[in-house]
Structures are given as structure tokens and as C-alpha cells.
Amino acid sequence: MSGLASMRPVRVVGIGMHSYQFPTDTPYVTLGLTALRQALADAGLQWPDVTMAAIGTGAIGMAAGRVMLRHIGSTGLEVMQVENASASGSSAFRMACMMVASGQHEIALALGVDKFGSAQRAAHKDGIPRLTPAAEIPAVKFALMARAWRDRYGLTPEDMARVAVKNHGNAARNPYAQFRKPRTLEQVLNSNKVAGDLTSLQCTPRGEGAAAVIVASEDAIRKHGLDRGRAIRVLSSVSSSEHAVADEGWSLVEMVQRSGTAALDAAGVEMRDLDIIELHDAFTIEEIVYAEALGLCPLGEGAQQVREGKWDIGGGGCAVNPSGGLLGMGHPIGPTGAGQVAEIVRQLRGEAEGRQHPGARTALAHMIGLGSVAVGHVLQRD
């Protein structure tokens, strides 16, 4: 776990996306370079200006970075591949931030890219049989969490479905989102039952895509004459994994609590300062539980906040997943965390056309990875 406070400032100067989409025959190189070229243009930089690239991917395979980047120019830059399950893109972003903050590089790229289908899980190679393999399936695991929240706090299926309505609505206004249709409460509740109270529209889709984020030092911003007004400061970067806890096996919740607190403390901000949170909502229950665990409201009160529209864009509070989140924007794994940062940067610049959260200044990007790991970043405009 480490913040950025003791190191030199880092700012996001460029963002780019390839839309998330259902699996196609498009090579990952096309996806990744589309996002990269957008990010370079957004920053006003040339490719040789970037001296380090962290490539977040879960399924492409060895040397994904070089195989892709040689098509934009073999400049001799440092290339590192980062695999941290769903948090691969977040971890690549953290790595790029650390490289600049520590003075190793002036300008670094975090690029998440993935294709669906060929990821392998280490948990399937540990040689240990499972008593109940079904319980390892994420939809089942989170259906159990949803039922536990129902039993403890009175969470209803409608409460969870409202999260999907909100996030599909946000995604419908996001040109990079995989799902572009607003959904009604009835459509969400009446979609196919998957496990417990989770229906298919409450589960993230499978897909592919890419997201690129370029970070730079203050010196580099001056040297290259970049637009400092659009350069968003990264206040903190933290990463951690689960502790064993005895509370009915929900160590994930404790991990998110600790991770969120660490991210805010390292940034020197409080939860009430946050205008936006992008978080890991692969299943609707996750948004409610993680937002509670991060401290947006007390445990058990998330459903009420959703019912009152407090997490909506322009809802008067902290907007949660204005991108549409994993439920609506999609979750291609490698890009997801970098895509969260790109959305936040767009929002903090005031450039999220059609889905702008008014007055957004400070935001948290928080991602979970299988295992489990948590990665958090706080960003702020001047």
C-alpha cells in the first residue's frame, strides 16, 4: 500500500478509448492502438514522448505490449505487462503513476486492452479440489452476498434492480459503453433469473475494448506546453488484498473498507469531498455493498440512497458510476480500471457530454480484482 503524497505530483494529460463491445474478430492491436492514438491526440503529445508503457491485460498473453506497440513505433521505451485480474488496468495506471511520481520517467502510459475468451485462472491450477465449485462462480458468490444483505438489512430485489436501471441509463449516454439502452425496473426484474435474486440485466456483459491514460510530471507538462487546465492531478494510489476475517466470509467488504479509507487518507480528502465514484459493479449488489464499505453511507443504507436518487448524475450527491459502470459500460477486464480513470478525467474536466455530473472536482476510481485485490485512486482538478 502506498500513496503519492511523498513523491512529486502526477497528472493525467491524455485519455483515449476504444468502445467496449461484444466479442468480435477485431485484433486486440486495433483496439489498443485506437485508444492510444486518441490519448496522444488528447494530450497533444507524440508517441516518442512517452518513455514507459504499462499494459494491463488478463487474457491476451505474453508480450502483448510489444506486439501491439511496435505498430506505432519501436522507440525503445520501457514496456511492462500488468496482470491483476479485473484490476489489471487499475494496476497498470498505478504503475504508470509510480514511474512518474518516483522520477523514473516524465511521461508514462497505462493502457488496458483485452479480448474475451482465453483468460486462465490460477485458482484452477492450485491442485486443490473444491467442495462446491459452483460457489466459486462470481454470479453465485454475489447472489449469496445479496441474500445476506437482504437478511441483514432488508435489501429487496427491487433495490438491486434500481442500480441496474441507473447504470444502464448512464451507459446509454456514454458513447464508449457496451450497452446503450436505458432499461426500466420491470425490464431488469423480468430479465432471465441467474442466481438468487440476480437477473441477467444485473450482471456485467462479456466483451472487449481498450482504454489508455497518459500521465506526466509537472516538468513534462511545462516542457511540452501541455494544457495544464485539462491536466487532472492524481492525489493518491493504493493497492491491497484481502485479510482473513471471521465475519461470515465477507472479507471482500473489509478489504474495500480498508482500501477506500487508505485511498482517501493518502489523498488528504474525506468522503464528503467526493463528487464521483467509479467502482466495481460487476453485479448490482456490489455497487450497494462497496459504496457502503467505502463510506458513502453506513452499511445497510445504500439501497435507500439509490431509491432517493442520491447516486444519480445530478442527484445532488456523489454520482456513482456515471460511466454506466461494469453493468452498463462493460467489463472487458484489462481496460476496465483504466476506463474508470478515463471517465473520471472526462468528468472532472467538464467534458462528459450528455452525462456530466455538475461541479465535479474530486473523484475516486476503485477496482476489485479476483483473488481478491483492491486498487484505488483519488483524482482532483485544480
Binding site: P129, L131, A134, A139, V140, L144, G249
Partner: protein, 134 residues
């Protein structure tokens, strides 16, 4: 009939009841299930230094859901998956016999039941309701 996963459970000697195979740290009493060749995660004790232990298979339901879709190859649905607290304190997930979701607090027992597998039937481990929630 063979056990599907003989490193995880064994016959208890009482009817269809099963015991679960665990490790115990001799210094702290910490238990680890399943028994692995890698050690006890809670204390870092290697397996060679741990004691072998049998858990009763008696548990309480913490929460339970029905899986409606076959989410993995060969999964038969509807399937009841529950989070359970074993009498010895370990929390784990297990399959509940039948199709009616037991309420939190319901007592269950690990049992060995025939399951079809390529090459013939084997005994798998499920949890059977023994008494309702208090």
C-alpha cells in the same frame, strides 16, 4: 462406490454422514479446510507440521440461494448453494440437498450422495437439513 473427492471428505461411519478432512495447527488450534499440501493459511504453518483433523460435517445455514441457470458445464439446476458455518467455526460454501431454500439458522449435516460422473457413479458431498431454524 468411490468418493468424488477423497481428499476433502470421508465416510463418518454413521449412515450416509460425511466428515470433512482438515488440518489443525498444534500450537494455536487453528483449523484449515480443505486439507492442502501447502499449509495453514491463518498461521503459515506448513502441512508437515500440522495435525490431521476430521470435522463433524454439522453446520448452520448462514444464507442460501437457488442457482437458476447452468453456469458451468454439467451443472444441474435448480441448485441450492449455501454459505454455512461448521460446528467447528469454519465458514464454507456447500450444496444443499433438494430444491427448497433453507432459512438462515437451519441445521444441516454433510452427507455422501451418489452423483453421476463419466465412468460411473461416485459419492459426492452435499448438506442435508436435519432441523429447521430456531
Amino acid at each position: 462406490m468411490e468418493l468424488r473427492e477423497p481428499t476433502l471428505y470421508a465416510r463418518s461411519g454413521t449412515g450416509e454422514d460425511a466428515v470433512l478432512l482438515a488440518l489443525r495447527d498444534p500450537a494455536t488450534g487453528d483449523l484449515a479446510f480443505p486439507r492442502t499440501p501447502y499449509g495453514i493459511g491463518a498461521t503459515g504453518t506448513p502441512t508437515e507440521a500440522a495435525e490431521q483433523a476430521e470435522l463433524s460435517g454439522r453446520a448452520e445455514v448462514l444464507t442460501c440461494v437457488t442457482v437458476h441457470q447452468p453456469l458451468s458445464p454439467g451443472m444441474q439446476v435448480p441448485l441450492l448453494v449455501a454459505r454455512l458455518r461448521l460446528e467447528e467455526g469454519i465458514v464454507l460454501d456447500g450444496i444443499i440437498e433438494g430444491t427448497e431454500e433453507p432459512a438462515p439458522g437451519t441445521k444441516v449435516q454433510a452427507v455422501l450422495v451418489p452423483e453421476e460422473r463419466e465412468g460411473g457413479a461416485v459419492l459426492g458431498c452435499r448438506f442435508r437439513v436435519t432441523e429447521g431454524a430456531a
